[in-house]
């Protein structure tokens, strides 16, 4: 999901910067660096997918298109595909409607608290789906704050607002999730778009509206389309939100794959669904890659300082206030509701018929440390926290170990001088291959693991490493994406300057590359950690029942009745939210340069 500015200081064409070792050696070195990542992808991405393929297309060992054909003719499957597309389109349009005014505000105006707004908007993006689902449950659910307030107001004991298990709840959660993508992708691009272009149109006689539609909008279009497509992909593969907020009435492809696998154990149908899903997301991802390439096309981009102005009229301030207020309400309210609710005791059901009594309590948190006999856990629920942290640490290590050589190979081979034209296909081809896991849904990945590693030759189902490996697959593209811009940003002359001052190549890497990408490594590591902590789709299929992670424990609590279970789900969600929010805020403060990448 590349989104970066061109190098800020273009080098003179004939400078030393272009002179490097011959391309052959650059390619050989790149392949050497890539050996491990490619092996990893072959074993843990391609092999599981091929296993699904085999199961879907040839369950008895020979080609059999019956499951696919049955699926194509099945009215339920058609409804699922139709709903998946429909809700994704709707969510995307609504997200754009909410995000674009914010993007404009962030791009063109400079105001106090903008950095905080940006950082806050990033928080939902790393929130685990289950936390988001639980948060919306705590806000708009039958026992959520809004209904509690309305019940107290109208003195009734039936919740007046029935948003749970409706399309509305799903859409709301999707907007909450993805608004930050629009803010970032469009806002960042817009912020660096030279306002003099619109100015030139004004001078040539265009009024404000026409300058916007004839100049600004066409220039922004690739960024808007790229953001929309990315939002669409995320909505299309949405899993936890649909499962928890949609209830049994709604199923996307992703949810259906999960149900077919876990509830019905109908693996061939699940595989056929996965194939459909895979084909769609791959098509969307390819489209996205093409669009984002156009975003990086040369445009007269300017540093932010030249493109922004203070809010100096009361109308501008009012509009900014409305936009910021709306965004904050959308982004902060559910999370605040979640945190607040996890500390609140509600006594409504028994005894009194009227309004609920509320009070502060730590009971839900205390309960996490208790191992009840009737609990499905063999250990106290809090053990899930330990499991998650362990898995996340392993994922962080694995992701960095694989991403660092990958990013190095991708960026270094690109700087070679000879045969530049013949290198670009090699690099772009690799770049897309390495990004493939990004376009593959997590549930499909989980299903692939389940199918591939449950039987010989690679019967690793019981291995404790399987879960970190699955998470690494999900995190890997993100980590590569945070490392490569930093590496690409290191001008080759710095390494040459080090060499000319007597530093060996290894020493130059230590002295120049490592310190310069240190922050990016931390950002990538934090991403991997956060992704692993919140990962639910693949985990739901891969995790063993005796080794639950936090999201699995939350889902188990949410799907069981009773205030205590619900409270514990919220308490665990709050813990997860705090960790993830801390992570993303740390990333924000570490983010290198003006324009980040997703």
């Amino acid at each position: 999901m590349a989104f970066r500015l061109r190098s800020p200081a273009p080098l003179p064409p004939r400078s030393l910067a272009r002179a490097v070792a011959p391309a052959f050696f650059a390619n050989a070195a790149a392949l050497f660096l890539l050996a491990l990542p490619l092996l990893f992808l072959a074993l843990f991405y391609v092999y599981p997918l091929v296993s699904i393929l085999r199961l879907g297309l040839a369950p008895q060992g020979r080609l059999d298109l019956a499951p696919l054909a049955a699926l194509a003719g099945d009215a339920h499957a058609q409804r699922v595909v139709g709903f998946t597309l429909w809700q994704a389109v709707l969510s995307t349009l609504l997200t754009l409607a909410v995000g674009l005014p914010g993007a404009y505000l962030v791009a063109r105006y400079d105001f106090r608290g903008k950095g905080l707004l940006r950082a806050l908007a990033g928080v939902p993006f790393v929130m685990p789906t289950l936390v988001v689902a639980a948060a919306f449950n705590a806000l708009i659910g039958p026992r959520g704050w809004i209904n509690l307030g309305l019940m107290a107001l109208f003195r009734t004991d039936t919740p007046p607002l029935n948003l749970m298990n409706t399309l509305g709840a799903i859409l709301l959660a999707h907007i909450f999730y993805n608004t930050t993508i629009v803010l970032r992708l469009v806002g960042d691009f817009w912020a660096h778009l030279d306002p003099r272009l619109a100015g030139a149109a004004r001078v040539l006689g265009a009024d404000g509206r026409r300058a916007f539609t004839h100049v600004t909008l066409p220039l922004l279009a690739p960024a808007i389309l790229a953001a929309a497509l990315l939002v669409f992909i995320f909505d299309f593969t949405s899993f936890g939100v649909i499962l928890v907020l949609g209830g049994p009435r709604f199923a996307t492809l992703e949810v259906e794959i999960y149900r077919q696998t876990i509830s019905l154990f109908n693996l061939p149908t699940a595989a056929a669904l996965s194939l459909t899903q895979l084909a769609c997301t791959l098509a969307f991802t390819l489209l996205y890659a093409r669009l984002s390439a156009r975003v990086t096309a040369p445009l007269p981009l300017r540093p932010q300082a030249f493109t922004q102005q203070p809010l100096n009229t009361w109308r501008a301030r009012l509009a900014a206030g409305v936009i910021v207020g709306g965004l904050l309400a959308l982004l902060v309210a559910p999370l605040a509701a979640l945190a607040l609710r996890s500390f609140t005791r509600l006594e409504a059901a028994r005894g009194e018929r009227t309004a609920v009594q509320t009070g502060f309590t730590l009971a839900f948190y205390q309960e996490l440390f208790v191992n009840r006999r009737e609990s499905i856990f063999y250990a106290p629920p809090f053990a899930a926290v330990g499991n998650s942290v362990g898995v996340a640490a392993a994922t962080t290590f694995l992701s960095l170990a694989l991403s660092l050589p990958t990013a190095l190979a991708l960026t270094r081979s690109g700087s070679a001088r000879l045969n530049r034209s013949s290198q670009i296909p090699f690099r772009e081809w690799l770049d897309s291959v390495l990004m493939l896991p990004l376009g593959t849904s997590a549930v499909t990945l989980g299903l692939g693991f389940l199918v591939a590693f449950s039987r010989p030759p690679l019967a690793w189902r019981a291995s404790p490493l399987l879960l970190p490996l699955a998470h690494t697959l999900v995190a890997f593209p993100f980590v590569v994406r945070s490392l490569s811009p930093a590496l690409r940003g290191i001008r080759p002359q710095l390494r040459r300057a080090a060499a000319s001052l007597g530093a060996s190549p290894l020493r130059a890497f230590q002295e120049v590359d490592l310190p310069l990408i240190g922050r990016a490594v931390m950002v990538g590591g934090a991403f991997a950690f956060a992704i692993s902590l919140g990962e639910f789709g693949a985990t739901a299929l891969v995790a063993r029942p005796d080794f639950p992670t936090i999201p699995i424990a939350i889902y188990t609590f949410l799907s069981q009745p009773g205030a205590l279970n619900y409270g514990q789900a919220l308490a665990l969600s709050t813990i997860l939210m705090a960790v993830c929010a801390g992570g993303i805020l740390a990333i924000e403060s570490l983010r290198v340069g003006e324009v980040g990448e997703f």
Partner: protein
């Protein structure tokens, strides 16, 4: 002593080198002068060991450096855009080379301070290099490349990124800095496309064009007897007319017949194509030899001289510079007399 022996390097996209030979003596400053794209930077990359030549070799004191990686050559290289390490402060940038030699920290501190004093940046030790002005960054880069006392210092357009005033000021200092550091004269190879810089700094100038060295010599020598019309044109001597020799030291051209001094014409090679270089200061308003009728097209005052753009009856525009005196007005047609001493004959066209 640096010797370049028949260095060749080809690239698919041009900018290669073809049979380059050059010697730089110890303590000497040689300037590589040429238009952009002539192969200057490629040559530096070959000497530094960042590139491998297709043919020929680089020698130091008679010993071939083939196969020796850049960091073991003890050659300094100052980059056009300085390439200061953005994650290190001024002191640590300058100290980098010494630390690569594992010099003791006390010596590092001493020599960094010495280098910074030389470039007039004492007190800048702990400054963030990202906050330096262009001129300051340039000095830090110079100090950094000088500090490890390289046996050869290569400077790649070191003043190229600076504005004109700063450039002139630094040009004056640079020669002194190269001469004074560490109590010895620094052997240096200075790459530039600016003839003023090359002439002001260098003991010898090597002119490059299209991957070849076309003339080597002291600045005066190169300026006074350019080896080819290309060199003349590159040095800003643009009054060039194709010529054919006839009897008694005279040459026939499209704009008239000119007589040279016998000394100038005796050295004339008998090549098929010859070009006369009429130096801008060769024109007089009175005299007898080499009369040339021109119309004045433009007149511009340049301080110590006034420049006239003129049109002879046939042929290209010619430019002549005159010391302060009453001069004809624009539009007038006058007779000019060209001093035979200031006309040179060149091979080629």
């Amino acid at each position: 002593m640096l010797e370049l022996v028949s260095l060749s390097k080809s690239f698919g996209d041009g900018g290669g080198l073809d049979d380059v030979c050059l010697t730089v003596n110890r303590g000497e400053i040689v300037s590589l002068l040429g238009p952009s794209g002539c192969g200057k930077s490629t040559l530096l990359a070959l000497i530094a060991g960042l590139e491998t030549p297709d043919a020929g070799e680089v020698r130091w004191d008679g010993e071939s450096l083939a196969g020796l990686p850049p960091h073991r050559r003890s050659f300094g290289l100052m980059f056009q855009d300085y390439a200061l390490f953005p994650h290190r402060d001024v002191f640590d940038n300058v100290a980098f080379g010494l630390r690569m030699q594992n010099a003791p920290e006390t010596e590092v501190a001493l020599r960094v301070r010495e280098a910074l004093a030389l470039v007039n940046l004492s007190g800048f030790e702990r400054r963030d290099v990202n906050t330096l002005s262009g001129g300051e960054a340039q000095r830090v880069a110079l100090a950094r490349s000088l500090c490890p006392r390289p046996r050869l210092l290569m400077l790649d357009e070191p003043l190229g990124a600076l504005d004109r005033t700063l450039r002139d000021a630094l040009l004056d200092e640079l020669r002194g800095m190269l001469r004074a550091f560490g109590g010895r004269a620094q052997t240096a190879l200075y790459v530039t496309h600016d003839q003023q810089e090359a002439f002001a700094l260098a003991d010898r100038v090597a002119l490059m064009n299209a991957g070849r060295i076309v003339q080597v010599g002291a600045p005066e020598e190169v300026y006074n007897s350019p080896a080819s019309p290309f060199v003349a044109r590159f040095l800003g001597l643009t009054n060039l007319v194709e010529a054919a020799p006839d009897a008694d030291s005279a040459f026939t051209t499209a704009i008239g017949r000119f007589r040279l001094t016998s000394r100038a014409s005796r050295s004339t090679p008998h090549a098929s194509r010859l070009t006369l270089l009429l130096r801008p200061d060769c024109a007089r308003l009175s005299g007898s030899a080499n009369r040339l009728r021109v119309r004045i097209l433009e007149r511009s005052f340049r301080g110590v001289y006034t420049r006239l753009l003129t049109q002879p009856e046939r042929g290209p525009h010619l430019i002549f510079d005159f010391p302060p005196q009453p001069l004809p007005q624009v539009g007038e047609t006058v007779d000019l007399f060209l001093d035979p001493e200031r006309i040179t004959v060149l091979q080629g066209e």
